[in-house]
């Protein structure tokens, strides 16, 4: 029996108070996600239950019970407090998927500070713009990533502390650096969680738009209500589950459903901190007896590519429930997973700003492969006319997805950018920026983005950010960046560039430019292809017409080019 039971029945008389009651929360009470994910679980008698089973390279393993998580997060919170870090200060987590990342996240929240997880593959410039926007007070990181922090430290007077979790004493610590060893530090038995309220800030995740710098999405402690209930009803997490969320907590899935969801339910979760290979993933499922697996279409398509034969080498019979997030899950992947695992991956649709699942498929509900499913109970969703922003009542007619912004995990603003936040609403609807249609049975079907943002492997890349970085390369005169179709990642970054006089368009220069962006921004933002052209298509007013290049890449009609600059 699934946790949700009947989706239709849950829709009747739904109220978010269902989650509030289960969490013993009443309006006006203190609500601290860190406490809910550790102390409360221990108080419920699960102190000795494994919370985190972590595996690194070479099969190195670490295990932490909920009591270990409680004690270590107390210790981290206390350490930060002694450094002078206080509630609402931003503390960045810039690490691989190591235990300190997961437990450090809980410690930061217990202190009442704001957790700012950043993807550890970010280059120094990507790191800098995000730290600068947040005016981050402290960065918790590892030796392997600290050089990127050191490179930009002079430009960040607001960063008071750089905390190294794996300092081995082989080289001297530098300015503002301090060592902290989570497992060896004296454990703090009692730490009183900061009395955060529903609207107290909790997490700051960064996301990219078409224009401007990355935006800091501000979430609050009340988001727990949505994250708890969606984990229970959609991921169907049950007491004896062994859960594996493959997402990196540098992105929202890795915190909403890689930390908060499972731990607020007292569920054991596993983390594999190695790079991707089909063999290592299947081996991990077999070894850890994973029962619930939450992954991404890019990974699923990569597994499909590795073939069906390899699957036969492993016993994957422990799997009972699968779900996917990050980008639309194509019908072929759903059908394939049903064939090889005996279970279909259920697609879930949501984004950094929504904080929790919005449109999803549910255990027990009829699956239409390729569909995003139906709105979670309590979510008022529709498809809006692109001009009037009125709901479309006609079945199958495409429009913009819209949500009434009244669920607990909805972002509260973009950090220091309220103006951009307000632009996300029309007629009282929040617009996530995607187009879809609704079929006669009420299922939502994804069509595409409504802007130029590139979704590569489930991560949003701003063309503007890549174009700006390209212009910093000595050879590049002008640049335009668009999405290019990709079998595995759905989309990848493609750049069109014109060169400055004296530079020759060749393969070696292309590689140099690719590596320049990879190091400056991130591997995700690195153009997978660079095309040299003599001039970029522009309007007469000089604005680059990305849509002309986009249409060229996707084999689409170019559309109206009356404003295109004459030759």
């Amino acid at each position: 029996m699934s946790n949700i039971g009947s989706y239709e029945k849950q829709l009747e008389n739904f109220d978010w108070s269902i989650a509030e009651k289960e969490l013993d929360y009443k309006s006006g009470d203190n609500i601290n996600i860190g406490w809910y994910c550790s102390d409360r679980i221990c108080e419920m008698g699960k102190a000795n239950k494994p919370a985190l089973i972590w595996e690194g390279l070479g099969g190195v393993e670490k295990q932490y019970t909920f009591n270990d998580v409680r004690l270590r997060s107390n210790t981290i919170a206390s350490f930060l407090k002694n450094l002078g870090i206080k509630n609402e200060d931003r503390v960045c987590l810039f690490m691989d998927k190591i235990p300190e990342l997961y437990i450090g996240f809980i410690g930061i929240l217990k202190l009442g500070a704001v957790a700012q997880p950043l993807f550890s593959a970010f280059g120094d410039e990507s790191l800098h713009v995000r730290l600068d926007n947040a005016q981050t007070t402290a960065i918790i990181t590892q030796r392997k990533h600290v050089s990127k922090v050191r490179k930009i430290l002079d430009q960040m007077p607001y960063v008071k502390h750089i905390i190294l979790v794996d300092y081995d004493g082989s080289k001297p610590l530098r300015e503002r650096e301090i060592a902290f060893n989570m497992d060896e530090a004296e454990q703090i038995e009692n730490f009183e969680s900061f009395p955060t309220k529903a609207e107290s800030p909790s997490v700051l995740h960064y996301t990219s738009g078409t224009t401007g710098q990355p935006k800091g999405v501000k979430h609050v402690h009340y988001s727990l209500i949505s994250q708890y209930l969606t984990s229970k009803w959609v991921l169907d997490l049950q007491e004896d589950d062994i859960y594996w969320c493959t997402a990196d907590p540098g992105w929202v899935t890795g915190t909403s459903y890689g930390i908060i969801g499972p731990w607020s339910l007292g569920i054991t979760q596993c983390v594999l901190d190695t790079g991707f290979s089909a063999e290592s993933w299947y081996k991990f499922i077999e070894k850890r007896k994973i029962t619930m697996w939450y992954s991404a279409p890019t990974a699923i398509r990569s597994l499909m590519k590795a073939g069906d034969e390899i699957i036969k080498q492993y016993n994957l019979s422990s799997l009972r429930h699968l779900a996917s997030v990050g980008e639309p899950l194509n019908a072929e992947a759903v059908i394939w997973s049903e064939k090889v695992f005996g279970k279909a991956f259920l697609d879930t649709y949501w984004q950094t700003e929504t904080g929790s699942m919005m449109l999803t498929n549910y255990p027990g509900m009829k699956i239409k492969p390729g569909s995003m499913g139906k709105p979670f109970p309590g979510i008022t969703a529709t498809v809006l006319d692109t001009k009037t922003f009125e709901p479309i009542n006609e079945t199958g007619k495409p429009g913009l997805i819209g949500f009434k912004p009244d669920w607990p995990a909805m972002m509260r603003t973009y950090w220091r950018n309220e103006e951009t936040y307000q632009k996300k609403f029309e007629n009282g609807w929040y617009l996530p920026g995607d187009r879809a249609y609704i079929d006669k049975d009420g299922y939502y079907w994804f069509i595409g983005r409504d802007d130029d943002v590139i979704n590569t492997g489930g991560h949003l890349i701003s063309p503007f950010e890549v174009e700006s970085a390209l212009l910093e390369h000595e050879a590049v005169a002008e640049s335009a960046v668009v999405a290019k179709p990709d079998e595995v990642n759905m989309e990848v970054v493609k750049a069109f560039v014109t060169l400055k006089p004296g530079f020759e368009a060749n393969d070696d220069l292309e590689l140099k430019i690719m590596n320049f962006i990879r190091k400056k921004l991130s591997p995700l933002a690195m153009p997978q292809e660079i095309e040299y052209i003599d001039r970029l298509p522009k309007t007469r007013s000089g604005k680059i017409m990305r849509r002309v290049l986009h249409a060229q890449e996707w084999g689409e009609e170019i559309g109206d080019i009356s404003t295109l600059e004459d030759d």
């Binding site: 790079g275 292309e510 690719m514 995700l524």
Partner: protein, 80 residues
């Protein structure tokens, strides 16, 4: 004549490692070890193609084939 493994190793250290994790050998897992991610693999493939004047089909550029410098050498020699 340059030793291919040495050239590839030098490139990997130069491009994908920093002072804190430069103890990479011919057998160090690059992809499964998280030193080179799947997106960065594209730039490593491009380097090999430019350097050795070969073309590696996407179907052969699997994470397994790129996992160590030794395996990469085998792959490159297949297409020379």
């Amino acid at each position: 004549m340059e030793d291919m493994k040495e050239v590839i190793l030098e490139y990997v250290i130069e491009e994908y490692c920093d002072e804190e994790n430069d103890d990479v050998t011919f057998d160090t897992p690059l992809i499964s070890g998280g030193i080179v991610d799947s997106f960065s693999m594209v730039s490593l493939k491009r380097f090999l193609e430019n350097k050795y004047k070969i073309s590696i089909p996407d179907a052969d550029a699997s994470p397994e084939a790129f996992d160590t410098v030794k395996k990469i050498e085998v792959l490159v020699k297949r297409f020379q």
